[in-house]
């Protein structure tokens, strides 16, 4: 493996990017997983490779974290997009969208027209209109959860990490409710 590629992987991951299947660096990570884990761990970086789901990222152990606000925005937006699509897509198309095989034109994303989305967007995430929403979607693709190509939104395999977080959150709410 070339050191230049190693540096490329390191530079991407340390900035919070997730590398998914489809990215040319993914196959390098998959082929050299043990070597990279060991190399990065020597300089204090914890490489996580989710082979079964097809993505990799750095799990920070200290406070080197991405800004909470920007992460919260993309977590909220991607989940809201799914909810918005739920009545519009059939089961198969929804699965295809989540797996990244089906894309969504950015212009068709109009979350502000639905009251429960609009409330969360405006008063909690501070995203006031669709234009701003699209801008956040475009700029936050640096995390590697999704990509925007030809003004279309594609979910990447790493988006599973966000949805896994959402599912765990739902489980917690449910178990909390049961305890009460």
């Amino acid at each position: 493996m070339e050191n230049k590629t190693t540096k490329q992987i390191f530079d991407s991951l340390r900035k919070g990017k997730h590398i998914s299947v489809g990215n040319p660096l993914w196959s390098v990570i998959e082929d050299n997983q043990e070597h990279l884990e060991s190399l990065f761990s020597q300089i204090g970086f914890n490489l996580q490779v989710r082979s079964e789901k097809g993505y990799a990222y750095f799990l920070p152990e200290d406070d080197d974290l991405a800004k909470k606000e920007t992460v919260r925005k993309i977590v909220g937006i991607l989940n809201m997009i799914l909810l918005d699509l739920k009545p519009k897509l059939n089961q198969t198309d929804m699965e295809q969208f989540i797996q990244g095989n089906l894309s969504l034109p950015l212009t068709s994303i109009n979350l502000h027209s639905t009251a429960r989305f609009s409330n969360a967007l405006k008063s909690v995430l501070k995203i006031n209109d669709s234009e701003q929403l699209r801008s956040v979607i475009k700029s936050s693709d640096s995390y590697g959860f999704h990509k925007v190509e030809n003004d279309r939104l594609f979910l990447l395999h790493a988006s599973h990490r966000i949805f896994e977080f959402s599912m765990n959150h739902a489980d917690k709410l449910l178990s909390g409710g049961e305890e009460e």
């Binding site: 920070p60 080197d64 977590v75 089961q91 909690v124 977080f165 959402s166 599912m167």
Partner: protein, 411 residues
Amino acid sequence: MSRTINFESRLSIIARHGRILLWIINEEEKGNLSKRRVLDYIESTDVTDSNRVLSNLIESGSISIIDDKIRINLSVKNFIQWANDSSEILPASRIESMLIDVMNDIKAAHNFLNDEVLNEREKFAHSEQRLIQAEGTLNDLWGISDQNLRHVVLTSSRLRLAKDKDPLSFMVKVSKIWEKDITPMSDFRAPSSELARQRRELSDILYYTSNSSKVNNIIRKAASRTFQSLEDTWDYLARNHDLMQTEMRPLYDMVEKMRGTLRVLRGAEAILESLNKRENLNIDGELRICRTAPRDLFSNNSIDSFIFNLLSSDYVEDLSIPKREQDPVNLPIPVDLSELINENPETEDLLDLVLNSEEFGEFTLHECVEAVYSAVKGVEIQLDRNSDRRTYTKTNDSFALSALPLKMKVK
């Protein structure tokens, strides 16, 4: 009470009123079915005399009325369901328990043959009865396996069409068939399972009995039939189980994906709800996303980064011979021992000879040693291993050398 009725008449009644019987089966499963409702249904099928039809069905034994409730004869029910391809699948647990019954019957048949309390006639009679019973159950299993496969094939076709219309019902039905009716069979089919082990053991016993001279011909034949039936049914169950798995696996994979999608959507709802309630999502704690940026000079990160950048530099392997710093003309000339050797063609300790020679008085110990250990043409130099180590010094040198002496002889 039903009057005596022959086979032809009974078959003809069932055939003529098959649809009414199917309706009764379906309605009976929903709950209590009264005589009045059945009569109303019969009338709705344009039959002029509904009472006569009902009487015929009762007289043929197809149905009975108990406390104004209609009950259908189980054999007729099975027949109608079979004819309509609507038989229910028999769960794997029931198949397993039937196989256990078969094993128990075969074991009992074998035990009777070895029972010392019974006389020979009793032994054979009991044993034969158990073998016939086992064979009967195996025949039932054969039919049930056929019926299960047909049910799975027909249901899977129906379910495929209904997937997008009613996803929830699709998930429930597919999961039920896969988890309750198909998967458990894999467990007892496995060669390492207790049932499979028993089957092998009892097959051996049956094979032995079918060739034994200690039993009569009836038992030998019964054992032979049961042996063949056990082997064939086991293989048939396995084959049909494989076919059922092939048929249902793609649907179950779909269900797994659908479950995943539903969980994702449920998670999305929970996130939205929490956002709207302004609850803390604890993103930093749970969804930790790395973002290292250069901060203070000489921080640990900067050092790490520096070390890492060293790694990324292109390393070129250098195999070229370095240039001499000195001109070869000015290089020191090694000590020349040729004259000394000419004068002393043989010695027991060459280094001692060199060190004590006036000719080399100005040379250091190091230079003398270097000269002695260098090869000299036409001279044989040998290490004296039998000698003790000696210490060599020079008055003008602060070093001393401890070594074995070197013998020298001109060839």
